[in-house]
Symmetry: C2
Subunit: 181 residues, 2 copies
C-alpha cells in the first residue's frame, strides 16, 4: 500500500497523513463509556432515547457495533478497550476497570459510595467475548460489582440460532444443557 | 464404488449385500426411545445407571451421539427419527410424536392418563435442532406436553463457547441478550 501511494498517488498519501494527524490530536475517550470519540461525551451516551439504567460492558467498539446491529438493546454501553490477559501482562489497570466501577458505583459529594437506590445504573450486562480471556474479564467484573450490590447478568451461552446439534462443539452443547430454560 | 466392487472385489460386494440383508431383517426401533437397534430395548434405555426421570428429545441418532459426547447428560432419550416439515408433507404422524406422548404420559390399567406424580418421566428436555423445522417441532411437542402437566425445557440458545461477538450472527446475539442470566 505504501509503495502504491508513493509511486502513483502522492496526493492521497498526504491526505492520509493529515487525516491521521487530525485523528491523533482530536480523538479521545468518551468520559462516560470510554469508547473513542471526538466529543467529550460520545453520541450514544448523549442520546436521550436510551435506557440509562442498563449498562452493557463490551471489549471493543466492534463488539458494541455487533450488539447495536441486533436492534435488541436500548441501554448504554461501557467499552473496556481491551480484556484482562495476564499472559500478555494486561491487568485490571490496563483496561478501563476503575473507570467502569466509578461509573456504576459513583461516590457522592462526601466521597462515600452511593447506595443502590440512588445509582443511575441498575443492571450491568456483561457482553465480553466467550473466549478464555473474555470469560475471565467477565468474572472479575462480576465479582467486583456484585460485592457492591449491583445486579450483574451475562449474555446467554448456548446453541447458535439456525444450527444443527450434530455440528456444534461439545462445550457449547454442554453449556446449553446446563442453562436449559 | 459399485464399479470398483464388481471389477476388483466381488467377495466384498457379497459381504456388503449380506450385511445389508441382515440389517434390513434384524434392525428395528427401540420400544422405549424409538432409535434403531437390534434389541427390543436399546442399550441406552436398558442401562440401569441412567436417570430415568429425564427424557431428552432429539431428531436423529447422530444428535443423540453429539449430546452423549459431552458427558454432561445422564438421563434417557427419545429419538423422533425426523422432524415436522409441513412443506415436505411430514406431519405429526410421520415422526414418533404419538409414541413420545404415550411414553411420557402413559395410560394406567383403566385406560386413563397417569397423574403427574406416578409418571416415570418428570422433565422433557427438547434438543431438536435450532433450525426453523427443529424449532417448530419443539414448539408442537412443548404445547402438547405442557397441557398434560409435563415440565418441558429447551436447550439454551446463545453465543457458542469460544466465540467473539463480532463474528456471531445477529439473531444469536439478540437471543443471548433476551435470555441473559
Ligand atoms: Zn460514550
Ligand atoms: Zn432405547
Amino acid at each position: 500500500m505504501a509503495f502504491h501511494l508513493l509511486q502513483h498517488d502522492r496526493h492521497a498519501a498526504l491526505q492520509i497523513a493529515r487525516a491521521l494527524e487530525h485523528a491523533v490530536s482530536s480523538i479521545k475517550h468518551c468520559d462516560l463509556c470510554n469508547t473513542l470519540t471526538e466529543q467529550d461525551i460520545c453520541r450514544t451516551c448523549s442520546n436521550a432515547q436510551r435506557d440509562r439504567s442498563k449498562l452493557c460492558v463490551v471489549e471493543t467498539p466492534a463488539d458494541q457495533a455487533a450488539l447495536e446491529r441486533t436492534l435488541a438493546y436500548r441501554g448504554l454501553y461501557f467499552v473496556l478497550m481491551g480484556k484482562l490477559s495476564p499472559l500478555d501482562g494486561i491487568g485490571p489497570h490496563d483496561i478501563g476497570l476503575q473507570k467502569l466501577f466509578d461509573r456504576v458505583v459513583p461516590k457522592d459529594d462526601a466521597g462515600l459510595l452511593m447506595p443502590v437506590e440512588s445509582r443511575e445504573v441498575q443492571e450491568v450486562i456483561l457482553a465480553t467475548n466467550f473466549t478464555a480471556e473474555g470469560e475471565a474479564t467477565a468474572h472479575v467484573i462480576s465479582q467486583a460489582l456484585k460485592s457492591r450490590g449491583v445486579q450483574v447478568t451475562r449474555l446467554a451461552r448456548g446453541v447458535p440460532v439456525g444450527s444443527e446439534l450434530e455440528y456444534v462443539d461439545l462445550g457449547t452443547i454442554a453449556h446449553a444443557l446446563v442453562d436449559r430454560r
